[in-house]
């Protein structure tokens, strides 16, 4: 028996969220005695990089290096992961929530007749059946979800478990998948992706700006603070609506939901729709000149003050400390 983990990679690196999913599976297996953790990686990626997935807890990595899988074609990825699942005799599939992961997991739920739980925030409770805690209402509540199928799929939210780094390298085995042209019927014609930047949905620290920043020309201050912190930058909905920042930086109910260790909000009042996108953050810092801004009620730390005054000082203070 084993637990299978679908891992994603970008720019030659296995995603950190996928490594967290591996660590989640490792802890899950210690609890349910489902044997070793086996990861499956699709498309071209360096085998040394895949071996390092062992550090997070995988014993083995199956590598389907078919270059047609380099693109995240949803149906093809779902077909390949289903074959790996059956080949290793797994009952449980774990993966990180992501744009591709979610789309693939939904199809796999049907293919594998597996109960699927998304937004999983901690290890399942197996004392009485199989109960998984997940976040609902965009992080405003949690649901205990009873999974009644023999096969199970868990799509894990960021920070559900601590990432392990103390394991040994995994063995990497070639895995041959049997895919037909129809699995590749849809074509990804091009991709626009911010490269070299820390990606917002996966970032451990996020610095966001709102209308209080007064204009796109002032974003340098947000970026400088983010740079010192090693953070991704985000923004509120009005800011992306008026085009000061691109849509993929919009944090909130209908934008990106983030779950960083530290979320710094500058000049954002804290409308309920924005809070819905950040309420899974471990620690929230709010900088706003309006002491009545509702965001202070949701914050751990706050500074009442003008962003244009506070940001440069904070950036300098952090530079000295870090």
């Amino acid at each position: 028996m084993s637990i299978l983990v679908y891992i994603e990679h970008a720019e030659g690196k296995v995603k950190k969220t996928s490594l967290e999913a591996v660590s989640f599976a490792k802890e899950l297996s210690a609890k349910t005695r489902e044997g070793e953790v086996i990861a499956v990686a699709l498309g071209t990626v360096d085998s040394g990089e895949l071996a390092s997935v062992g550090k997070a807890g995988a014993a083995k990595v199956l590598h389907a290096s078919d270059s047609r899988l380099n693109d995240g074609v949803i149906q093809a990825h779902a077909a390949a992961v289903a074959q790996a699942f059956k080949s290793v005799g797994a009952k449980t599939l774990v993966l990180a929530k992501s744009s591709l992961g979610d789309a693939v997991a939904a199809r796999l739920a049907i293919k594998l007749n597996a109960g699927l739980v998304s937004n999983v925030i901690e290890l399942p409770n197996t004392d009485n059946g199989y109960v998984v805690k997940r976040s609902i209402y965009t992080g405003k509540a949690f649901a205990e979800t009873k999974v009644t199928t023999e096969n199970k799929i868990l799509a894990v939210k960021k920070n559900a478990v601590d990432l392990k780094t103390d394991g040994a390298n995994a063995s990497v085995e070639a895995f041959s998948v049997n895919l037909s042209d129809s699995d590749f019927a849809s074509k990804i014609t091009s991709t626009e992706r911010a490269t070299g930047e820390i990606l917002l949905p996966e970032a451990d620290i996020v610095v966001s700006g709102g209308r209080g920043m007064k204009g796109p020309e002032n974003w340098g201050m947000i970026e400088n603070l983010a740079k010192v912190l090693g953070a991704a930058t985000g923004c509120s909905k009005p800011v992306s609506d008026i085009g000061w920042r691109p849509h993929h930086e919009h944090v909130g109910q209908t934008g990106v939901k983030v779950a960083p260790s530290l979320y710094v909000a500058v000049g954002i009042s804290g409308a309920i729709q924005h809070l819905a996108g950040v309420n899974s953050s471990k620690c929230i810092v709010v900088i706003n000149k309006d002491p009545e801004a509702p965001f202070f009620k949701a914050a751990d730390y706050g500074i009442v003050g003008d962003a244009f005054e506070v940001l440069p000082k904070l950036t300098e203070a952090l530079k000295a400390e870090l």
Partner: protein, 245 residues
């Protein structure tokens, strides 16, 4: 072209979330229900495509009788007819099973819905329906153009987007900026009253992952304020107290 759009009936985004019956039921007291915001984008795009290409647009919802005003609103916005599958939407698999059944019966070319419902946030129904019907599924889709039988889409990925080409029939989970939300006009509201709304029974009761109880997050302690002229204090707190640096 025959288009099906799937509508969720969900609490308004500003609703206070509370539970009753020993934390096993959502407390609907004082809650306003709306068409899911993502479904609203799907509906708006579906209306545009129906008007562009001719054909029909059907709205479907899995829900009990109280969801009908929401479904009627989708008729007021522009759907031609509606189907309500008369059951509480127990889990994603249950909902997908119903939609797949009635979608197959209706022979739709394009099935649109929101990327996720804003109550349970599963984001799974489009993929499940796709697999059940053997159709490709895409989500979250930010742009969708139909040219004959070819569909060109932009799908959001971490930090950007990818452009995809596929053939009808297909399923897409939608999000902004695929279209602008449409507000029903008076003529729409009047005509919605007489447009056909068919109530059908679920084809199966099977579930796989039902929610059994609910919890609210622990109350947040009060904010610790740091003086704006002493930002070094904040750095210390983040480092030594919150331990996030």
């Amino acid at each position: 072209m025959k288009i099906l759009v799937c509508i969720t009936h969900v609490p308004d985004t500003t609703s206070k979330i509370q539970f009753t019956a020993n934390n096993t039921k959502f407390d609907t007291t004082g809650v306003q229900y709306i068409i899911g915001p993502y479904d609203d984008y799907a509906l708006a795009r579906a209306v545009e495509l129906r008007d562009q290409t001719g054909g029909t647009l059907t709205a479907i919802n899995v829900g009990e009788a109280e969801t009908e005003p929401t479904l009627r609103k989708s008729l007021a916005i522009g759907a031609d007819d509606a189907i309500r599958v008369n059951s509480f939407p127990k889990d994603s698999f249950f909902v997908a099973t119903q939609i797949a059944h009635y979608a197959k019966e209706g022979g739709y070319d394009l099935i649109l819905m929101g990327r996720e419902s804003i109550d349970f946030n599963g984001g799974m129904v489009h993929g499940m329906v796709g697999e059940l019907l053997g159709m490709p599924s895409f989500s979250p889709v930010m742009k969708l153009e139909v040219e004959g039988s070819k569909v060109k889409m932009a799908r959001e990925i971490e930090g950007g987007k990818e452009y995809v080409e596929a053939q009808l029939p297909l399923i897409a989970g939608c999000q902004e900026p695929i279209a602008e939300w449409k507000i029903p006009n008076m003529r729409g509201i009047m005509s919605a009253r007489t447009k056909p709304l068919k109530v059908v029974e679920p084809v199966s009761q099977e579930t796989q992952a039902e929610a059994s109880s609910y919890q609210l997050p622990p109350a947040k302690g009060s904010v610790k304020l740091v003086d704006k002229d002493n930002v070094g204090e904040l750095v210390k707190l983040l480092k030594n107290e919150a331990k996030v640096l």
